[in-house]
């Protein structure tokens, strides 16, 4: 029995990190949006570690914020510890990471969603998508309601045909004891969307009162917290520490003795797991020379005893898990509250998506988050936001927002998955970005606020503030390049006190800041007229001056990159008809339908020789077009 459930512009299936961003974006842009989730208690739930950010991921959160997404604000409001990573290195790879109070994080996001105009949140499991003439027209749920829509975004995470694995105990299930979504996969496949099986795992949650922290090393947050959101001014909280401990030969011995009981080694698990989230048994087996592996204790929240044991995810049977956890110093008497498990799930082939995250098979149907084969809250949130924006732009009949690899990690992420395809869950790393020095976490607002404002997610007030900041940066840099420091003994004395060398002739403050050992704030002594500026402006001024040479170099590389990105390939190009293209390359190109020569060159299996052939083909197509043109005259 079905019944009509009402009409919506956009339906978002799944209220995880991707779905929350997608639904908020589409509703904020002004479309009537319905957000469905199997369980209302799973809104923005973190099924794995209780933290947001980290290398590469922290960059994504800042970009989400610059575009007008919610994740940055949400973690700012609910963090219990924060750290800027990589401070010993340069600004391009500084990365923020915060420990979250998981429940607080979920509740705040749920509240924001519930109070968002144009947005309705419902506990319903989608079982079918309704497609007419290749276009999405509605979504059916278990209760029989059919909701009509003009666009839909699937953000189903790890729930599709979810299967839980704890040693030889295996059953259908979603994360954290929630129900899996057993029906939607079939409907997707019926509509030409092929699926593959991926796998991921999580460690046990243990009871804090059974841990002995005195045997571990305390890990505290930063004294001064840098917020994720460009709109959060400061964060004042009492931070909660984490603890570090290590495995030992005894731990490894238990693993070795029981390895044949691990489904990873018996071949029972078919899903492909990520290399960067190896289970403890994988680490021990692969790196048997390593004498110890580090284990972090991360609290799951302020009002709970649950502790996430980072570094100890496992597929081993529960009895083996308990035995090996208890070998670790400080965990001798540990009690499990939730066991470690692995989960297998269905996801799509992201190469079947356009850069807008719309499916090539079904018009108006978008995909975001772990369903696309990625892993991680931040990766999910970033895609959700882009899918939400582009679904809205699709309904408006406008061109989609496509962030390119030189504009943001979001661009790198989406281009990677739709172009290169993936054979394991995809996690962001700064090494994936070629223009890392330009894609800093500190300048995400400078890179992306413009887009956020254009699509309607950044309001005028915030935009004006942003423009003012931009102007201040520009002015201060040009001012510093004009203030000259004289080569007199007093000034040289000051320079020496910074550990810098003397000057023989007048130098601008700008030039002084270019010296690695000289900091902006130190040069105040030479600069009586220095204006009072916000720290975030100072940060930009300093970075832009100090790394000017390298920034210029990367900008030149970007220019080269853009040339290839702007050599567009017509979508109807008949690849198999192009003589000289190797069959493998022609097939890949046909599947991915790259928008540009640049994108084509990043497809694995497409060689530079193929690109030359492609260029020749395009040139010839262009010339024959010209010929036709003259014929007509």
């Amino acid at each position: 029995m079905t019944y009509p459930g009402g009409d919506y512009d956009i339906i978002v299936i799944g209220a995880g990190h991707a779905g929350s961003e997608a639904a908020l974006a589409s509703a904020r842009i002004g479309f009537k949006t319905l957000l469905l989730t199997i369980n209302l208690d799973s809104v923005a739930m973190m099924p794995c570690n209780p933290s947001i950010g980290g290398t590469g991921k922290g960059h994504l959160v800042r970009e989400i914020d610059a575009l007008g997404g919610e994740m940055g604000k949400n973690i700012d409001a609910t963090m219990i510890q924060c750290k800027m990573l990589n401070t010993a290195k340069g600004p391009a790879v500084h990365s923020l990471r915060a420990q979250a109070d998981k429940k607080a994080y979920q509740f705040r996001m749920k509240e924001v969603i519930e109070n968002q105009e144009n947005l309705l949140l419902k506990q319903q499991e989608a079982t079918e998508i309704i497609v007419e003439d290749g276009k999405i027209t509605g979504v059916m749920v278990t209760t029989g309601a059919v909701y009509n829509c003009k666009a839909a975004i699937i953000c189903s995470g790890t729930y599709l045909k979810g299967r839980i694995i704890i040693g030889n105990v295996q059953y259908d299930g979603g994360p954290n004891g929630l129900f899996p979504a057993m029906y939607l996969s079939e409907s997707l496949e019926k509509n030409g969307i092929e699926l593959q099986r991926f796998k991921t795992g999580t460690p046990a949650r243990v009871d804090a009162k059974t841990l002995d922290y005195s045997k571990m090393i305390i890990q505290e947050g930063d004294d001064q917290i840098v917020p994720f959101s460009f709109e959060t001014d400061s964060i004042e909280i009492d931070q909660v520490p984490c603890y570090l401990t290590y495995t030992n030969p005894q731990t490894h011995q238990i693993i070795n003795a029981n390895i044949e009981r691990s489904p990873l080694y018996t071949g029972e698990v078919v899903g492909i797991g990520p290399r960067y989230c190896p289970s403890i048994e994988t680490k021990v087996m692969r790196f048997h020379d390593k004498e110890r592996h580090q284990i972090f204790m991360e609290p799951e929240g302020l009002n709970t005893n649950e502790i996430y044991v980072q570094g100890m995810s496992s597929c081993l049977p529960e009895d083996v898990q308990i035995a090996l956890y208890r070998t670790v110093p400080g965990m001798e008497n540990v009690e499990f509250m939730r066991s470690a498990y692995a989960i297998e799930y269905d996801c799509i082939h992201p190469t079947r998506l356009k850069a807008s995250l719309e499916s090539k098979a079904v018009t108006g149907l978008f995909f975001a988050g772990q369903i696309n084969g990625t892993s991680g809250y931040e990766e999910a949130g970033a895609q959700g936001l882009v899918a939400g924006i582009n679904a809205a732009l699709y309904l408006r009949g406008e061109q989609p927002v496509i962030i390119d690899r030189s504009e943001g990690y979001i661009g790198v992420l989406i281009d990677d998955i739709i172009t290169k395809g993936i054979d394991e869950p995809y996690r962001m790393m700064t090494s994936r970005a070629e223009y890392r020095l330009l894609l800093r976490q500190d300048n995400a607002d400078l890179r992306l606020t413009e887009i956020g404002h254009r699509v309607g997610l950044i309001n005028d007030q915030r935009y004006q503030k942003f423009l003012a900041k931009k102007e201040q940066i520009k002015q201060e840099i040009s001012r510093l390049n004009q203030v000259i420091v004289k080569p007199n003994p007093e000034n040289n004395e000051v320079l020496k006190s910074f550990g810098s060398s003397e000057i023989q002739h007048g130098l601008s403050i700008g030039e002084l800041i270019r010296r690695p050992e000289v900091k902006y704030h130190q040069t105040a002594v030479f600069d009586p007229e220095r204006p009072v500026l916000h720290w975030s402006v100072v940060e930009q001024v300093e970075v832009q001056i100090k790394y000017e040479g390298y920034i210029k170099k990367q900008l030149q590389q970007v220019e080269q990159f853009k040339k290839l990105e702007h050599k567009l390939i017509p979508i109807d190009l008949d690849y198999p008809q192009i003589g000289g293209l190797r069959i493998e390359a022609a097939e890949k190109l046909k599947e991915i339908k790259p928008l540009s020569i640049g994108q084509a060159s990043r497809i694995s299996g497409v060689s530079p020789a193929d690109i030359s052939v492609l260029l020749i083909a395009l040139e010839q197509r262009r010339r024959s077009g010209d010929l036709k043109g003259t014929d007509n005259e």
Binding site: N86, A92, R436, E517
Partner: protein, 459 residues
Amino acid sequence: MEALLQNEDTIAAVATGMGGAGIGIIRISGPDAVELGNKLFVNPRGKNLLTTNSHELVYGRIVDPATKKDIDEVLVSKMLTPHSYTAEDVVEINCHGGIVPMRKILKLVIACGARLAEPGEFTKRAFLNGRLDLTQAEAVIDIINAKTEKSLEYSVAQLEGRLSHKLEELDNILVEILSHMEVNIDYPEYDIEEISYDFVNSQILELLNKIKDILTVAETGKIYREGITTAILGEPNVGKSSLLNTLLMENKAIVTDIPGTTRDTIEEYLNIEGIPFKIIDTAGIRETDNLVEKIGVEKSKALLNQTNLVIFMRDISKEMSAGEKELIELLKNRKTIYIANKTDVISGMDVEIPEPWIPMSLLEDQGIETLRQKMIEMVFEGTVSQEADYLITNTRHIQLLETTKTSLENAINTMASQMPLELVSIDVMEALEALRGITGKAIGMDIIDQIFKNFCIGK
């Protein structure tokens, strides 16, 4: 219109450099190659190109179908698609009658309907038909350009991938360095070894040495490809033009007993034991009032700066002039071979010819062989100690290697100025990109793969 990339017409050209050794090949490639070749080919036993086997070499004559005139004695083979150089139907006519008949045959082939191939067009077709990858295509272009067999040999070696092998070694080291750097950046909290600039520095220095070695060899490669520019210098009338003629064994330069006969420079290509020389005969250098000659003299001096090797010649029967002394001074730091010509004139007299002068009499054919040996010796001296088993001759490759080198030097400077790791990584990445420009291999996932292979990271 879709068929634009299909190579629908038939092309022809001389496949080995004209004017080289005796045998030349005319290659015809394309759908009509066999039919076309057959029109010109006459076999004494009535064999027909249309029916011979692929890759069978048949003897016969080329006859002008219009006039029935006999042109040359040839060996012809046909190679059917896809088992040919271009992967198209190909006919190759091997003729040994020298330049003149070769030209005639080519003209006939074209008269019968083939189009004269553009430079490199066979290779382009081979390339477009998937027969060659990028390095191979470029090496083949070098084969086409190669002026002598020695170059040819090296180009073949390149084809066989010896250079690639060398480059792969560099590539592996670069990927290794980068993966160390990147794992430090992306996994700051893991107890992996903190990378030190000392380590990166020593690795890069080692790499730089390897690149410098290859570039040294590249110098030789360039010489091989373009010929060693050799200038014959000396006062008027000492016998410079005669020497050139002797070396070439044909009368090219004007030889007279009037001093100052050669008014301009003359260039000729010459092959000594497989090494190409570009020999330049100059106007004799001396102070002169004659304007035309003066221009030639200026040119000779300017030329000095573009030569790899100088042959300085004097007339041993004359006193050493002040001008000659001056010139010898000028040549002091160059690779120079000193020739004392016209020893026949002083034969019987007690004139001593000290080292390093090579006594020579062009009139009596003395000293030529010594000179030829000396020329070869000079080429190898200091450039390559032994014959390298690989060679890099392609200018684009050399440029890319230079870029690799510069980027690595930048990396060293970046570290020296205490810049952070991710900036050093930009330089090193640039080096890898330049290197990959030679092999055409995409960068893709290599570094990340290497990270997961070598380091135990991830939670």
